[in-house]
Amino acid sequence: MRKGDEWSMAEVSADPGLESRLDQLLRENDGVVRVEQISEVVEAVLATLSGDLTATDIRVYRELEELVSYIHIARQEIAALRPDEIQSHYIPSATDELDAIVEATEVATNEILDAVEIIENLQDRVDPEIAEIIANNTTRIYESCNFQDITGQRITKVVKALKHIEDKVEALVAALWERNEDGSASPDGKPKKETTDDSDLLNGPQLPANAFRQEDIDALFASFG
């Protein structure tokens, strides 16, 4: 609930000071109130209902009861997911494993290149026919070693996605359980970008089914003249 939202209720025999409590709550929290605070307010509203209840009173009462119950259940279900473990253990563990893959493939690729360079340097010491075979096949190996660059970029994409998920989990945890250290409200997500910039061009390698082949690139490039 944010400052500016109308707080309207059906006719209810409520404590007239309740509205001022709500206004105070919004002021104290810079216009953003956490769900457990909403729950407290709702319970306070229920407690203030007194006297003969009208049909409207009963309807509002039930809806507020359901709202409180929903909030409690949602918090329990989210807590059961152990978002703190996701944030502090599983995601960092996954990103560490992925970083290790990149490092391992880099080490292996360098080992391959070391060996290939040694073989390539033998060309001057063998007859031309053998030298040509060496040249052709060392070239094939260099071409194949492109894989390390591609896998590294794909893994980087995955790591970024995991970190994005981690940020969302952190925001969820902060919103539902604790205030940030500076007392500010938790973010409810980054605003949608209104304009595109160069960062939108950073997509990394495409999946094989979607990727442009070199021929496609050549054709598009040539179309510019």
Binding site: T109, L113, V116, Y142, Q148, I150, P205
Partner: protein, 128 residues
């Protein structure tokens, strides 16, 4: 005019194995005067202090991308004419369009083979 294979070539990529692969492929083509940079900012510094006949650059690097490097090169009167080949995994049409608009000389998509690299160099430098 014959291509001077002794020209200085700058290769730019944040993956050192890729730098090594491109260096070895260039060596096979007879280009041995090759310098390396691991990001656009380092490359720009080298380009400003050196006299390079060709730049072969990746796109996806930090803190300066290959596209940003290209724009800087084309904006500098001293080096705006240097041939610049983008070698990158970025393969969407908007990437090619953006690179072309920025003044790229040619575009190679990873993974690539030696023949493709050579053909793009020939298209930019002339036969060798």
């Amino acid at each position: 005019m014959a291509v001077d294979k002794n020209m200085r070539v700058l290769i730019v990529d944040d993956y050192k194995t890729m730098l090594r692969i491109i260096r070895n492929l260039l060596k096979q083509l007879g280009f041995v005067n090759v310098d390396e940079a691991t990001d656009g900012a380092q490359a720009l510094q080298m380009l400003r202090s050196g006299n390079y006949g060709l730049v072969i650059s990746d796109w996806n690097m930090e803190p300066m991308t290959g596209l940003q490097l290209l724009r800087e090169v084309r904006a500098d009167p001293k080096m705006k004419a240097v041939p610049f080949i983008m070698v990158t995994a970025e393969s969407k049409s908007e990437n090619v369009i953006a690179a072309k608009e920025a003044g790229v000389s040619n575009y190679v998509v990873k993974p690539f083979n030696a023949e493709t690299l050579k053909s793009k160099m020939v298209s930019v430098l002339g036969d060798f």
